[in-house]
Symmetry: C2
Subunit: 274 residues, 2 copies
């Protein structure tokens, strides 16, 4: 993480921030965050990330103190980001990497980090998925529709990256990504009440309605059906789409090219929305 950060639009040094100002976020995990890609200084899908963040804050009005609306507006955050990039020679106006907005105690904290070399490697070569946690979630569990600072369940699983299932034997998501499967001739992703996070890239693909001529649909995905999947990829805001060349021991050679096409589609939408 870079030392240049911003709190409520003011450029600060990370080392100077006080725990006092983020107390409920620390003591109770009472807050939300979102992570977004920055390409050559341009934040990707910022308006969508902020809409989700605002919706999460609005869903828990008594538990999380909201920042001012202005601090969660795209204009303000974009301006703040650009001031951070210009302030720090290690960043620069053409910075490419990952931004993170954390909201708690009425404050908005912007932090920046380089793209993860491991994630970028997987972006090219794919990432095999060989573990499952069936029953990790339960259907309709509401806090899992929000990217909260109470992130420990997902955090402990980030290395191993198991497919998380619910009590009905259905797939939900990966600890930090949404899942798409080529099943019965369509690209299927679990519904939000599986539960899973309403990921921004997931939303963009659902809105697009197709990838490579395949319809993109929300539908419950039984773990028992994964043996029938002809391809698989996962999406998140930092890497966009990553192919799964091996799913639970089975080779899926089509996954990499499908992920590449999904990524190209998402990048085109990102350019339109920039």
């Amino acid at each position: 993480m870079f030392s240049t950060v911003a709190v409520d639009g003011e450029v600060r040094r990370w080392e100077d921030l006080r725990l006092h100002d983020f107390a409920q976020g620390f003591f109770f995990g009472a807050g939300f965050f979102t992570t977004f890609r920055i390409d050559a200084g341009a934040p990707r899908f910022l308006a969508r990330h902020l809409a989700r963040l605002r919706a999460s804050v609005a869903a828990f009005p008594s538990a999380v103190r909201a920042p001012t609306p202005e601090q969660l507006s795209a204009t303000t955050v974009r301006d703040t980001l650009h001031r951070c990039l210009r302030t720090d020679a290690a960043l620069g106006a053409g910075f490419t990497g990952v931004g993170k907005l954390s909201v708690s105690d009425g404050h908005v904290l912007l932090t920046l980090r380089p793209a993860s070399p491991e994630a970028e490697r997987h972006r090219l070569g794919g990432r095999a998925l060989d573990a499952v946690e069936p029953g990790a979630y339960r259907r309709g569990e509401p806090t899992l529709n929000h990217k909260g600072l109470s992130y420990f369940r997902q955090y402990t699983l980030m290395e191993r990256l198991p497919l998380l299932g619910n009590e009905a034997g259905e797939v939900c998501e990966l600890p930090t990504a949404n899942l798409f499967f080529l099943l019965d001739g369509a690209l299927v992703t679990p519904p939000l009440n599986a539960p899973c996070l309403p990921g921004i890239i997931r939303e963009v693909l659902l809105e697009a309605g197709q990838v490579d001529g395949l319809a993109v649909v929300e539908r419950p995905v039984p773990l028992a059906r994964l043996g029938d999947a002809a391809a698989c990829f996962f999406t998140n805001a930092a890497v966009l789409a990553t192919g799964v060349p091996r799913l639970l021991g089975r080779e899926l050679p089509r996954s990499l090219s499908l992920a590449e096409q999904a990524r190209a589609l998402v990048e085109a939408v990102a350019r339109r929305e920039a």
Copy 2:
């Protein structure tokens, strides 16, 4: 919360602590805490609270950076607490209230607050419980056996205080307390895999084996059986035991005296262990 706190045994001002030193606790809820009663300067069940905290840290070695063993020893924490109390005239060596130990990023943070007037009022007059969240937890969910900084699920429910159930229709706990029911002539509390927190007062009562001649046992409690409960109380480290004079609309007049006897028993054990 009082401004006098301690980090790793050093007395500090709350306002001076840096977010930087508790980053993984804040960003990912990667840490644990425990809350304990302090009577006239004496921390209650401190050795037990520290044993649970150490067990939680040991259970997630790659996700939470552990403090040095010395910083989680009863001798060190007791000494730190007494230095805090002597430092601050608003506290004083005879302070009565609540202590909290939060562990993240290799650090131990001690904070202090007065007893909650509302909780003390309920200690005397009881607290009715009239709401249920069936299926809030699932059986065996491991993170719920640890008091984690990822506390948002419980935090959002603290005001309403519903009974939390699992997918099998069994009672688990309250958002911040363990439950005991007088059922079939015994005092029954849900087992840890319900799941519920291994509360310190719960442990003390189970070890004692009886309250008022009633056997204390761990056993699944179906929500459907609550209509047969003849009394109910809940336990936590701050108030010890609180009677439930009305459970889901049904008056339970015996609850208050039973809670009082449980509290007297716990206080006697606390004095022996001091």
